[in-house]
């Protein structure tokens, strides 16, 4: 029994880490657009979305804290890349350059990644409504209400840029779709504890979630004339198992700079 219950706990913690780490790095990449978005209203909107998303990461970290996994701030700032569970596609840089000098970020990639991820998150959150882990089911209710606006926002951008008929917009969007899809399977991966998570009724299986996502995005792709059968891959590896790229290492170094300067400070 002892072993069973510790396996159950591990599955819950793994799932929470995946959810927290996905939103955390996704929000960070979103925040890097602050001041750089295509126009001022978009700057307001995308930074507001990034802030909401950081709130979602924070509540998932808080659930881990309640399970005795350590302080939420420490979990967010003070874990090396190899301990992170986020999908690799979410850690990929926004584009060449960096925030401080010559950012040459790709808005098409931002729109594609944001739309596809937000839709995937919406499907997971829907599944979490009936999670056997009650605190997670409760949080899912709240997150869904906020997510409604995020999804509407990114879907609008996605459709407008692809449906614009503008040559550069369409070609850049198509390139971004290809780049995003080839690693998007990582968003659905449930990692090593997949079987246990599903057995416990924490969340539906990754194949089920992926299929629901394809059902949602396919008509949107078709509506803007991108005829394709949507196939996802995981060419850079599975972030759920601790595989990551230099992009994550650099992001962690930057985002934890202040925290690392005094880990015991009270804010």
């Amino acid at each position: 029994m002892e072993n069973n219950s510790s396996l159950e706990n591990t599955a819950i913690k793994e799932l929470l880490l995946q959810l927290a780490d996905d939103d955390f790095i996704h929000s960070y990449r979103g925040s890097e657009w602050l001041g750089l978005a295509p126009h001022i209203e978009e700057d307001v909107a995308s930074s507001s979305i990034a802030q909401d998303t950081m709130g979602h990461a924070a509540i998932f970290f808080k659930l881990l804290e309640e399970l005795g996994e350590g302080d939420a701030d420490q979990l967010a700032h003070d874990r090396p890349a190899k301990e992170r569970r986020n999908a690799i596609i979410l850690e990929v840089v926004n584009g060449p350059g960096n925030y401080m000098e010559d950012p040459d970020y790709d808005w098409a990639f931002a729109v594609v990644r944001n739309y596809l991820y937000t839709q995937a998150k919406a499907i997971k959150i829907q599944s979490l409504h009936s999670s056997s882990y009650e605190p997670l089911a409760e949080v899912a209710q709240k997150v869904q209400m906020e997510l409604y606006y995020h999804l509407m926002h990114w879907k609008t951008w996605f459709i407008q840029l692809l449906g614009s008929g503008h040559e550069e917009a369409v070609s850049r969007m198509k390139a971004a779709i290809e780049k995003t899809l080839q690693d998007f399977q990582g968003v659905f991966s449930l990692g090593h504890y997949r079987v246990e998570m599903v057995k416990q009724g924490l969340i539906e299986d990754e194949a089920v979630l992926l299929n629901k996502w394809i059902q949602e995005v396919t008509p949107v792709f078709e509506s803007v004339g991108v005829a394709c059968s949507i196939k996802v891959g995981m060419v850079k590896g599975d972030g759920r198992t601790g595989q990551h790229t230099e992009d994550l290492e650099k992001a962690l170094e930057t985002l934890s700079e202040v925290y690392a300067s005094d880990k015991t400070a009270t804010w």
Partner: protein
């Protein structure tokens, strides 16, 4: 030692003076953020609901609630906690809260959305319905930016947060 007995009404009365840190015409009570107040001897416990999970004002509000309650000398311990459930929804804002928002130039959220997810808001200044949505997202997580074509004022509105969406 004080022998004054605390009661929840007293605490609610104090909470009327704890305003939203960015909208000083509306109390946290009228925003519907207070779910429950319990008093046990000299100890007070307040259970609250976050409006938006990422709202940076939450910890400020928490502190302000503690400070307000500690004004009562009969109070020994105060615990202020944000609950995960139920979710805060914008229909928890009271009529007084809606009036307070309007004074600040913020339209209260619509009670209902249409089936397609669209919603309608009137100008808080001139009541005109001739308004346009400039940005669903605004200066804070809970607000949107609109423009009144009748009185030519920009204004804000509380975003509807409704369970069925």
């Amino acid at each position: 030692m004080s022998t004054v007995m605390l009661n929840t009404e007293e605490i609610y009365k104090l909470l009327e003076d704890v305003k939203d840190p960015e909208i000083d015409t509306v109390s946290i009570l009228d925003l519907g953020m207070v779910e429950n107040v319990t008093v046990s001897g000299p100890d007070v416990s307040v259970k609250m609901l976050p409006t938006f999970l990422g709202c940076p004002a939450l910890s400020i509000i928490q502190k302000n609630v503690e400070t307000a309650i500690k004004q009562l000398t009969a109070v020994r311990n105060v615990s202020v906690e944000f609950l995960r459930s139920p979710s805060w929804t914008s229909d928890r804002i009271t009529e007084k809260g809606k009036a307070g928002l309007k004074v600040f130039g913020i339209s209260p959220p619509p009670r209902q959305m249409k089936k397609d997810g669209s919603w309608h808001i009137d100008c808080p200044y001139c009541e005109s319905t001739y308004v346009t949505m400039e940005n669903i997202f605004g200066p804070t997580a809970c607000r949107s930016i609109l423009y009144c074509k009748a009185c030519k004022n920009p204004f804000e509105a509380m975003k509807p947060m409704i369970k069925t969406i």
